[in-house]
């Protein structure tokens, strides 16, 4: 399979080169790993040349320095303590995990393949136990072998959320840890064999509380990166993570400081078909002023805006109106939904007819405009699952002409709700987010057409979920009938996208949950059913079924399936966007050589 992929890539690349030589419009390649075996020629820029399954400027040529810039900073470079999508994308350069997303453009890049492991997980015990066997010849940057115990230790230390509060908690919640386990620092002698076993240096066994089907997705997340216990410095480890990937830190990388990665001499490419490792050196600038970052990207001073969340509003008008600049951009759809939660605990929205009135009255074109229009904002959403998630189906239960709302139908539902003249309620949004304010204002206008009077209630972003919109008591007491919300998937399948926003069991009375409005017992059952369904097609059908049920209950008003406008820096090679990252695949990138 690997050979055929490379062959396909080589043929595609050769064709692309030929096209370029003949003056073809763009040098791109579809499918494959994005690598070509020949030399390189300058590719011609074109809008979306690295999007939708295409590879821009494919190359296998090694060397040069790849320059990233970040307008903020990592929550942590420690694989146990990071929760940014870009951090997981970038992290694959210096750590490896049991599985990994395939390095390929478009939908092919959403496939999970083995990384440290020889194969995907082998289920047993009805899907409650998964076994992985490590490849031979794996080494850390200091030349010591990577064993299954290093992987187990990485997972165990990530359990300690007092020390590593930022990282994902899926393995904490799903594995069958012993009662009172607090991680290897506080309970070093506790037997954890009920959750993880390492019978030999190459075998690791995970025991789950319940059957769980998406385990291979979980195992590509950063907490399964191996950590050598002898080199673990706890909270200081982030300053020099011991590399298991193709690059290692040059010196230390303290928070808030620029840093560089250099080649890891002990990384063996024979064990790692997913990382072409083209540049010799990778430099990262942090806390770069966001508008200046765009200017540096435009002028060729840096190659990539690492956050991958899109260009700043100030740059958009300049870039979109200049054909030469626009040709250097890509416009991917993200696994992110901007939406409005409609809590059923607030009167009169406890009545489904009133919620349906909201669904019909809303002008979704206004919602789209609030987020920046079709290019920078995204496509109008009709249901929850974004098109990039396997199992996505378009569900249009509340169709209105041109998505502008249907006043007549809305009024009929208001009548059925016993509120023929409309009603008053509040809409919450995050005060620091102008797009959410614009959304609230747009809905205020469109709902006013049927007599639903909204009062805008801005709340601070930092406490939005803990204290305000995500706090059920506050929502009830302050009549928060609508709450502007948004969610991006932790990993690109239905569970990764849906679980945190539709499972009623994640709602906490003390606040803090992203699920503000979905309390449907059927949905909880379907989630459990899908989580243990090992047949991917059946599982994906259940995700869509859940989506349908949530829409039927009208507890979520979908707004926009997000898109972003990304710019390719000058001189980049092997550039593509995969469905798993929804930004440039950082593992694949190279730089043109003079």
């Amino acid at each position: 399979m690997k050979k055929s992929t490379i062959a396909t890539a080589a043929v595609s690349a050769a064709l692309a080169l030929g096209l370029a030589a003949c003056g073809g419009p763009t040098q791109t390649q579809t499918g494959g790993t994005g690598q070509q075996t020949g030399g390189q020629a300058a590719a011609q820029d074109a809008f979306n040349a690295a999007n939708s399954g295409k590879v821009f400027n494919p190359s296998t040529k090694k060397g040069g320095t790849l320059k990233f810039a970040n307008s903020g900073d990592w929550d942590s470079l420690d694989p146990a303590n990071t929760y940014y999508g870009y951090a997981w994308n970038f992290g694959r350069l210096y750590y490896r995990t049991l599985t990994v997303y395939k390095t390929a453009p478009g939908a092919e890049g959403n496939e999970v393949v083995p990384d440290l492991a020889e194969s995907l997980g082998k289920p047993s015990d009805g899907g409650k136990t998964y076994t992985y066997t490590l490849k031979q010849g794996l080494k850390f940057e200091d030349g010591t072998p990577i064993t299954s115990k290093d992987v187990a230790y990485g997972v165990m230390r990530s359990f300690d959320k007092e020390t590593f509060p930022n990282g994902p908690t899926y393995l904490n919640d799903l594995l069958d840890w012993p009662k009172d386990y607090k991680g290897p620092y506080k309970t070093p002698d506790m037997d954890v064999s009920s959750a993880i076993e390492t019978p030999d240096d190459r075998t690791i066994v995970f025991h789950f509380k319940q059957p769980f089907a998406s385990v291979d997705y979980l195992m590509q997340m950063s907490p399964t990166a191996p950590v050598p216990k002898a080199k673990d410095t706890g909270t200081k480890y982030r300053e020099h993570v011991i590399s298991s990937g193709p690059y290692m830190f040059e010196g230390e990388a303290p928070a808030g400081k620029n840093f560089a990665l250099v080649r890891n001499p002990h990384w063996d490419p024979a064990t790692d078909p997913n990382r072409p490792a083209l540049p010799d050196r990778i430099e990262v600038s942090v806390n770069v002023e966001a508008n200046d970052l765009d200017n540096r990207l435009i002028n060729g001073d840096i190659h990539i805006d690492i956050a991958g969340s899109g260009m700043q509003p100030a740059s958009l008008s300049k870039v979109l109106t200049d054909p030469a600049l626009k040709a250097r951009t890509d416009n991917p759809t993200l696994s992110r939904l901007w939406y409005v939660s409609i809590p059923t605990t607030v009167k009169p929205l406890d009545n489904i007819e009133c919620r349906k009135a909201v669904m019909y009255a809303a002008d979704l074109t206004g919602y789209q405009t609030a987020y920046g229009g079709p290019v920078n904002g995204g496509d109008i959403a009709t249901n929850l699952l974004p098109p990039t998630i396997p199992g996505h189906k378009k569900i249009e239960l509340y169709q209105t002409p041109g998505y502008k709302g249907d006043v007549e139908k809305a009024k009929q539902h208001l009548q059925a709700c016993g509120q023929p003249n409309g009603f008053e309620t509040n809409i919450a949004y995050r005060a620091e987010r102008p797009k959410e304010k614009a959304t609230a204002e747009s809905l205020q206008q469109s709902l006013a057409r049927v007599g639903i009077k909204l009062t805008l209630k801005p709340y601070p972003q930092g406490e939005y979920f803990a204290q305000y919109a995500g706090n059920p008591k506050f929502v009830r007491e302050n009549n928060i009938g609508l709450a502007v919300n948004g969610w991006g998937s932790d990993w690109n399948d239905g569970y990764g996208f849906l679980q945190q926003i539709v499972d009623s069991r994640v709602i906490r009375e003390t606040g803090g949950s992203s699920n503000i409005s979905v309390r449907i017992p059927d949905v909880d059952k379907l989630l459990d059913q899908a989580a243990s369904e090992t047949d991917a097609a059946k599982r994906e059908a259940i995700w869509s079924q859940i989506d349908q049920r949530v829409m039927e209950e009208a507890v979520v008003l979908p707004g926009v399936w997000a898109k972003s406008l990304l710019m390719r820096g000058k001189g980049l090679t092997n550039v593509f966007i995969s469905d798993s990252q929804q930004m440039y695949d950082y593992v694949a990138l190279g730089v043109a050589q003079p």
Partner: protein
């Protein structure tokens, strides 16, 4: 005089304590007064899928369940005597002045502040020299040639310098001089002076000039006004009557008289900038204290906020102290106050 300085020093220490209490109260007491619980505050410092148990553990680790006075006392103790912090596998001693460990990065704040201070110091000192020299020179020339084309042009530029926000002038100057003409360094290219002095100056040239433009404008207008007033004094006429050369009259007698308020304001401005030139550092992506403060506030990271606030307050208080002492030296009546 010594009694005066000691009295002012004690007042400065008291001022720093008050600043720390107010900052601490804004961060902890105010949210509690409007209904925030220790858990809701701790939610800021956990991942987005954190369980209630994780939130409680983090709240407990950060000491949010303790009474306000206990939390504040712990902070003060750390500043004076240092504190022990767990890194997970080991315990680390944070030497005084220990402003605590970042809630987010869980690393000590003081070394981070020390690390960023040279950037802010480099920016402030370089810009201060430029604005002081250019501002005073332009002010003097404008005063001597009152109503001339130079005077009008200089005061016009000065007005623009004071009026334009540095965030705008910073980004525009980067676009023109760094990305258009390629004669200055791009944003975020700071090099420490001990690594390469030439690159250090090159990387800071544009921030120096941009920041200096803002202050020089004010100094030029202030110097001009002072000079116009001084040059009409009787002792200037006497100096001229004695037959002194005009250069001596202007520099030795006129400028000296006009400089007193300039020196006072210079001290305060420099003190303020040493605590972090927030907008300039942001516009030019300089990793100084100002940028650090912005990040700390954005992240709600109290130990960082406390650390950077205390350092900024220290410089402002010290600048005030020096100015007060200088006043006392210049004007004996102050000592009686």
């Amino acid at each position: 005089m010594i009694t005066f300085i000691i009295r002012r020093l004690l007042a400065s220490v008291l001022m720093l304590v008050i600043v720390s209490m107010v900052t601490f109260a804004i961060f902890f007491l105010v949210p509690r007064l409007v209904g925030a619980t220790p858990e809701t505050i701790a939610t800021r410092y956990v991942g987005r899928t954190a369980t209630a148990e994780t939130v409680k553990d983090v709240a407990s680790k950060l000491g949010f369940y303790d009474p306000f006075i206990v939390q504040y006392g712990r902070f003060l103790k750390g500043v004076v005597a240092g504190a022990d912090y767990s890194t997970g596998p080991s315990v680390e001693y944070c030497a005084p002045p220990c402003f605590g460990y970042s809630f987010l990065t869980q690393r000590p704040v003081w070394p981070e502040i020390l690390d960023r201070f040279p950037v802010t110091f480099s920016l402030a000192i370089g810009a201060a020299l430029i604005w002081l020299l250019s501002g005073v020179a332009v002010g003097v020339l404008s005063a001597l040639r009152k109503g001339s084309l130079f005077d009008r042009a200089a005061m016009g530029v000065a007005l623009a310098g004071v009026s334009l926000p540095i965030f705008w002038t910073g980004l525009m100057s980067l676009v023109i001089f760094s990305y258009g003409l390629h004669i200055t360094a791009p944003g975020g290219s700071y090099v420490p002076i001990n690594v390469n002095p030439g690159q250090w100056a090159y990387s800071l040239l544009l921030p120096w000039i941009t920041l200096a433009l803002l202050f020089a404008a004010g100094y030029a207008r202030l110097t001009r006004a002072g000079m116009l007033e001084t040059m009409n004094e009787d002792y200037i006429r006497t100096a001229r009557a004695k037959g002194l050369r005009e250069r001596v009259v202007v520099t030795k007698h006129g400028l000296r008289g006009a400089l007193t308020p300039i020196v006072t304001i210079f001290g305060l401005d420099l003190g303020l900038l040493l605590g972090g030139a927030v907008l300039t550092e942001t516009a030019f992506s300089l990793p100084g204290l100002g940028r650090y403060a912005i990040q700390a506030i954005t992240d709600n990271d109290l130990p960082k906020v406390m650390g950077v606030t205390m350092v900024a307050a220290f410089f402002v208080v010290m600048a005030n102290l020096i100015v007060d002492v200088l006043y006392a030296v210049v004007d004996p009546r102050v000592r009686l106050g």
